[in-house]
């Protein structure tokens, strides 16, 4: 019986390095040394969209599609969407734009309602917050017609499509674009990224969603985690570049993968 199962040694090393890096950055972040993230274009897009809504006197909508938080693959984008929601709601409250957040899942609804209410309170605009109208629970399935019809009747002029998006992506974004809404779309579900990129005015793709969430919230845990993951990426890039250069020169380092 060997100490490590054959062929998996490198896996252990990689896992240790990556997890170690994440923990190290978290330690740093809690003691006040936050890693700096790149400022994404989308941060300014949020301001622009809300600003335009105020100018035109029409509402801005914030949609998240699937928010079933017990599924790990949906949890991560949903958390990011909540962080961005908090930021967006504050801007909306500050500038005085009408803001609307429909949610199709109970647990996520209560969290979203808390977030938005808190954002309005923090801006001292709690009177603008409508407990029944700003964040609304719509049963999944019944939401589609409601959202489409109201997008047209309220002439939405700004729309956010952030979170874990499925087949509704193409339906909602098409209607938003045709109503004339300026939109920001972002998801990590690969099949629906194309629709958001092709239809929305601004788009963020894949993991950028998490980065935007961490950036606007300034949350140390997520920021540190992203910084730690970046170490993993650098590691991968270095191995690939060196490995492929060596391969060009005729040496193969593929053997290390079977340790």
């Amino acid at each position: 019986m060997s100490l490590i199962i054959a062929g998996r040694a490198l896996g252990v090393v990689a896992l240790v390095i990556i997890v170690g890096a994440i923990l190290y950055f978290m330690q740093q972040a809690y003691s006040g040394k936050m890693p700096t993230l790149r400022r994404l274009q989308a941060v300014d897009a949020i301001d622009e969209i809300i600003g335009r809504c105020v100018e035109m006197g029409r509402p801005a909508w914030y949609l998240m599609d699937s928010t079933n938080m017990t599924t790990p693959s949906i949890l991560a984008p949903t958390v990011a969407a909540f962080q961005i929601l908090s930021h967006t709601a504050r801007i909306a409250a500050r500038l005085g734009s009408k803001f609307f957040v429909p949610v199709t899942q109970g647990l996520a609804y209560s969290i979203a309602a808390d977030i938005v209410e808190e954002a309005y309170r923090a801006e001292g605009k709690i009177d603008d917050y409508d407990p029944f109208g700003t964040v609304m629970y719509l049963p999944d399935g019944a939401d589609r017609m409601y959202i489409i019809n109201n997008m047209w009747s309220q002439r939405v002029s700004g729309a956010f499509f952030l979170g874990s998006w499925y087949h509704k992506a193409v339906i909602f974004t098409e209607n938003a674009a045709r109503v004339g809404a300026l939109s920001l779309g972002g998801t990590d579900t690969t099949h629906n990224i194309p629709f958001l990129v092709a239809i929305c005015d601004y788009s963020i793709i894949g993991e950028e969603l998490y980065a935007l969430g961490a950036y606007v919230s300034g949350d140390p845990t997520n920021t540190a985690s992203l910084a730690g993951q970046d170490i993993g990426k650098y590691l991968a890039l270095i191995i690939i570049v060196i490995g492929s250069l060596l391969a060009t020169a005729g040496f193969s380092i593929s053997g290390i993968f079977s340790w």
Partner: protein, 196 residues
């Protein structure tokens, strides 16, 4: 469980892990049942408060009761399976396929090369679809090798970068959940204090 994958482990640990895994499947099954209960409660409210369209909820109740009734008798009950094969799955497929219509309408009205991002997307998408339909290869023969090349090299490379990123993301999320710093899914929001 992560350790077990890399290091040989005594049977006790492995047995414990198997038990944990089966616990997970059971709890997930219970969570799905709970979802149905929530939905039913919301429909019951709609009916009792006679909200607009409440009579549709009655149809929900009737079809739910019939299916649950038959299913609780036995999930291998012939009538239960008949409902499933001939009503649930075709409707699911039909509702899912509705997006084909929306995609087509969107193709005409909003899929524009409005910026270079969208242009790259439209061109590759167009070539690949042309490659996939038999008539594309007849009308425009070069799209077949071009489409296959797109799919095998640039796209494959892009996805490879993405797969590596996602697997790192999974590790990051794992670390956050295991050290108890990711509490949003529990309805606890104490870390959102960092918002300025």
């Amino acid at each position: 469980m992560i350790l077990e994958h890399f290091f040989p482990m005594p049977d006790v640990v492995t047995g414990f892990n198997i038990t944990m895994r089966s616990f997970t499947t059971i709890v997930s099954a219970a969570a799905l049942m709970l979802g149905v209960i929530f939905l039913t409660i919301s429909h019951a409210r709609t009916i009792s408060q006679q909200k607009s369209g409440w009579y549709y909820s009655i149809f929900y109740m009737i079809s739910l009761l019939i299916t649950v009734g038959l299913g609780l008798l036995s999930v291998r009950n012939e009538n239960f399976l008949w409902i499933y094969d001939n009503m649930t799955s075709p409707t699911g497929a039909a509702l899912y396929s509705l997006t084909a219509f929306y995609i087509t309408s969107a193709a005409y009205r909003v899929f524009r090369a409005r910026n270079w991002n969208a242009a790259v997307l439209l061109i590759t998408g167009f070539v690949v679809l042309a490659m996939l339909i038999p008539i594309g290869g007849i009308l425009l023969p070069p799209v077949v090798p071009l489409g296959e090349w797109f799919r095998s090299y640039p796209s494959s490379a892009g996805f490879r970068g993405m797969i590596m990123g996602t697997s790192l993301g999974t590790m990051g999320l794992g670390v956050r959940v295991f050290i108890g710093r990711q509490k949003e899914h529990l309805g606890v929001r104490e870390e959102r204090r960092g918002v300025e």
